[in-house]
């Protein structure tokens, strides 16, 4: 209701949205370079992490001294405490590249130094080096297979309309890039929970894009009297409440996990919050404008082809065509931009004039504009009017 009546030209602002995404992704890439790749979690690097809860405050030096007898390779120490703990800095986080399956020596080394260890609140995880490589491999495969499956599903859903499928794919890649980038910026370690989040987000992103594209296809059949730009924009505003509400319901549960769940869930919820938000954003602000731009490129190409035919048939260019150009609200075809690469045989100057003549000439119903849906010069094989199983919502 709120969004429906809004005069919000999302398509017109597309370069702003692209810039926003570009900035986030660029920052992510810089962070990735700075970290020498995505920081990986224990499952993928191998080694051990040991969280020991002590019944007293400990200092790093005493712990480090105590641990010498446990003979750990290059242990990284970190002291922490939880709000509910009785003593400040009573938790020791030890991480090492070594895979320690038996925590006994670590405990006894600490106990020998007089540190009281609460074993009921300790946590140990260790992964052997060969297994971590295997896990990383399997996870990458999982990512690739999931992407391919989603691409296949997109192809199945938009089989006869290549443009929709490819743009949905771009949105998908966008979301993966944003997730990886933000993870790198936040310097969080990507572990198997991150993989789970990635695969979930991929599904969510595809779903969200399909919902909006279905509406665009549906409106493409009904709204034949407005430009493609405003039709897409209207579709976005119509589905905006849905987009926002579905995002909100998922975010509600994710924020509940983030704020009330334990540390493990926090990490997982963070990845999903980033990914799901990006998934919803990309469908509206990336995929749909790209669809419009693709359409414009097609129009230009078609105009060129048509032009060429016209130049051959009638040599005289139509003068004054540019004068009748209506004030373009959403100027999708930027006249200032260079014409696309000419076909080899076509002579450039008259074609350029012709092109503008064709696209800008008043159409049969007297309404000026860029509408090629009604006065398209030739059959359009992948037009929106193609019957498809599209029940947008």
């Amino acid at each position: 209701m709120f969004f429906r009546n809004l005069k919000w030209n999302i398509i017109g602002q597309r370069y702003g949205w692209f810039a926003l995404s570009g900035a986030v992704i660029a920052a992510g890439i810089i962070a990735l370079i700075a970290h020498h790749g995505l920081p990986l979690g224990l499952s993928f690097t191998g080694g051990s992490s040991i969280e020991v809860k002590c019944d007293q405050t400990v200092s790093e030096t005493t712990v480090r001294q105590a641990l010498t007898s446990a003979r750990l390779q290059d242990p990284q120490l970190q002291l922490a405490a939880k709000p509910s703990d009785k003593f400040p800095s009573d938790r020791i986080l030890i991480s090492t590249q070594q895979a320690i399956s038996d925590p006994g020596p670590v405990y006894s080394a600490l106990e020998a130094a007089g540190i009281k260890v609460d074993r009921t609140q300790s946590h140990i995880r260790s992964v052997g080096p060969s297994l971590s490589r295997e896990y990383l491999n399997r996870s990458l495969w999982a990512l690739v297979i999931a992407l391919v499956l989603q691409l296949l599903y997109i192809a199945f859903r938009f089989g006869n309309q290549l443009r929709f499928g490819i743009v949905a794919d771009i949105a998908l890649v966008h979301d993966v890039l944003v997730m990886v980038g933000i993870y790198a910026i936040a310097n969080r370690k990507a572990d198997d929970a991150f993989l789970a989040a990635l695969l979930t987000v991929i599904g969510y992103s595809v779903m969200d894009t399909i919902v909006i594209f279905d509406r665009i296809r549906e409106n493409g059949r009904i709204m034949t009297n407005v430009s493609y730009d405003s039709m897409v924009n209207t579709s976005l505003l119509q589905t905006m409440t849905r987009s926002v509400n579905t995002l909100l319901t998922v975010l509600i549960t994710l924020f509940a996990l983030y704020f009330f769940g334990g540390d493990t869930l926090k990490n997982f919820a963070f990845a999903l919050i980033v990914g799901v938000t990006s998934g919803a954003y990309s469908s509206i602000f990336i995929a749909s404008p790209l669809l419009v731009m693709w359409r414009h490129a097609q129009e230009r190409k078609r105009a060129l082809r048509h032009d060429f035919v016209l130049t051959k048939e009638a040599a005289a260019p139509v003068a004054g065509a540019a004068v009748s150009r209506p004030p373009a609200a959403q100027t999708p075809v930027a006249p200032k931009r260079a014409a696309p690469k000419p076909r080899r045989q076509a002579p450039p100057p008259p074609r350029y004039k012709r092109r503008r003549t064709l696209t800008d000439a008043p159409s049969s119903d007297g309404r000026g504009g860029l509408n090629l849906l009604t006065d398209a010069p030739e059959p359009q094989p992948d037009d929106d009017t193609v019957e498809g199983s599209s029940e947008g919502s």
Partner: protein, 421 residues
């Protein structure tokens, strides 16, 4: 579908019966739902069997034998829900939720427990007192091995220190009697995993039982008795991955994740009610039915609930409601378009169905891949998300529809405002 041609009272009765059935399936929750070791504390270990000179290839038979031995050994630790799962050709995943002493369990998994009694002369023994490996090489062929022992128990030596008492089987007893009667006064060192643990001297001919004192602690004597009873491992084990969670830590995580789930569920219920009014309330009812179904599934199929599993469940709540948002937004649009509530509801459900279906298919695709290739605990997430997605397609569409139909047919809510318009 037949469902939509049935009369309302029948449908409602079926839904109520379903809920009652679920209630009996999962109540009381504390007893029926099995908690994973990350929620109640415990140990998980992924063990790989390593080929040796004698056993160059790990085949199914070896894997089974090894699993048997490990099962018997770890069975003595008093863990009620011990699970062993073969992974691939040469791996065993062991889960021990509720395990109190992970260090003991790790040793039980690791130690081959090959017990050998090999003769050595007193001079050799005196010379190489501190070098087990050298002594093991010098010692003669084994007189008695772990395989000759029929039963071992924990006892105490005259000084009160823990010891392991063993009884030999008949073949072992015969061998032992023959050797000891000829070698009175000579030492017979006992090696465990090629390490000298004791070098007793034969005082008289022994036939069928004896005692090992190896400077044991209570724990290590229990372990050795346990290992002797279960038998030695056929091939050495290598621990690839372990996770050990303290019980208190697990309980804290359980409480936190329960609070998170309830808060998430509560806010989502409220959100739907405020935004979509009457249908929102009905969707909330359907969501409660969904939660009942999920709990019943977890109880009936003995699914072990883990932290990632709970995350999957919570996420599926958010996604279950998504379907309702799609449908109700569509109904609102139809109402704006000037349709009557009855027509708008019919068209809304029909037009939104394929979109809802899409959203479920894409989620299921991801979950299936994750379940197939995911590692360790992530599988739990994938499984609950998968089941949750399938169940939510049922509740969010069919059950919500049944409730909405009743309201519409009885003209209980005709004003568009009640639909959030």
């Amino acid at each position: 579908m037949f469902w939509f041609h049935w009369k309302h009272p029948i449908k409602i009765a079926i839904i109520v019966a379903l809920c009652v059935g679920c209630w009996f399936a999962f109540s009381p929750v504390a007893q029926k739902v099995h908690l994973g070791l990350d929620l109640q504390g415990g140990l998980r270990a992924l063990v790989e069997l390593e080929p040796t000179h004698d056993v160059p290839k790990i085949d199914a038979g070896i894997l089974d034998e090894e699993l048997q031995v490990l099962q018997t050994r770890l069975g003595g630790l008093g863990v009620s829900e011990l699970t062993f799962e073969k992974v691939g050709a040469d791996r065993i995943n062991i889960e021990m939720p509720g395990l109190k002493d992970p260090e003991q369990a790790i040793k039980l998994i690791r130690e081959a427990a090959v017990l050998e009694m090999r003769p050595l002369s007193s001079e050799q023994l005196a010379k190489g007192q501190n070098n087990s490996a050298a002594l093991y090489k010098e010692a003669g062929p084994a007189i008695i091995t772990g395989a000759d022992i029929s039963h071992a128990t924990v006892g105490t030596d005259p000084g009160g220190a823990p010891a392991v008492e063993f009884t030999l089987n008949s073949a072992g007893a015969k061998k032992f009697y023959e050797w000891s009667s000829k070698n009175v006064g000579k030492p017979l060192p006992i090696f465990l995993d090629q390490k000298l643990i004791e070098a007793p001297t034969i005082e008289s001919a022994i036939s069928n039982n004896g005692e090992i004192h190896g400077g044991f602690t209570q724990d290590s004597s229990i372990r050795l008795a346990n290992e002797l009873n279960a038998g030695a491992l056929k091939v050495p084990t290598k621990i690839l991955e372990t996770e050990s969670v303290g019980p208190t830590l697990g309980r804290i995580d359980l409480q936190k994740s329960l609070v998170a789930s309830l808060v998430g569920l509560g806010v989502v219920l409220l959100f739907m009610l405020v935004v979509y009014r009457v249908p929102g309330l009905l969707a909330d009812l359907a969501l409660v039915v969904y939660c009942f179904l999920m709990l019943a599934y977890v109880s009936l199929f003995g699914v072990v609930l883990t932290l990632p599993g709970i995350a999957g469940f919570v996420l599926s709540i958010g996604m279950a409601v998504d379907a309702n948002v799609l449908i109700f937004e569509r109904i609102k649009e139809e109402l704006w378009g000037g349709r009557t509530t009855r027509a708008a509801v019919g068209v809304g459900f029909k037009r939104a169905f394929w979109t809802v279906f899409d959203s479920h298919v894409t989620t299921i695709l991801g979950a299936v891949v994750l379940y197939w290739l995911g590692t360790g605990t992530v599988k739990g997430f994938a499984l609950t998300l998968l089941v949750g997605t399938v169940l939510s397609l049922l509740t969010a569409v069919n059950i919500t529809r049944s409730f909405v139909d009743v309201v519409v047919d009885k003209d209980l809510a005709t004003a568009p405002a009640l639909y959030g318009v």
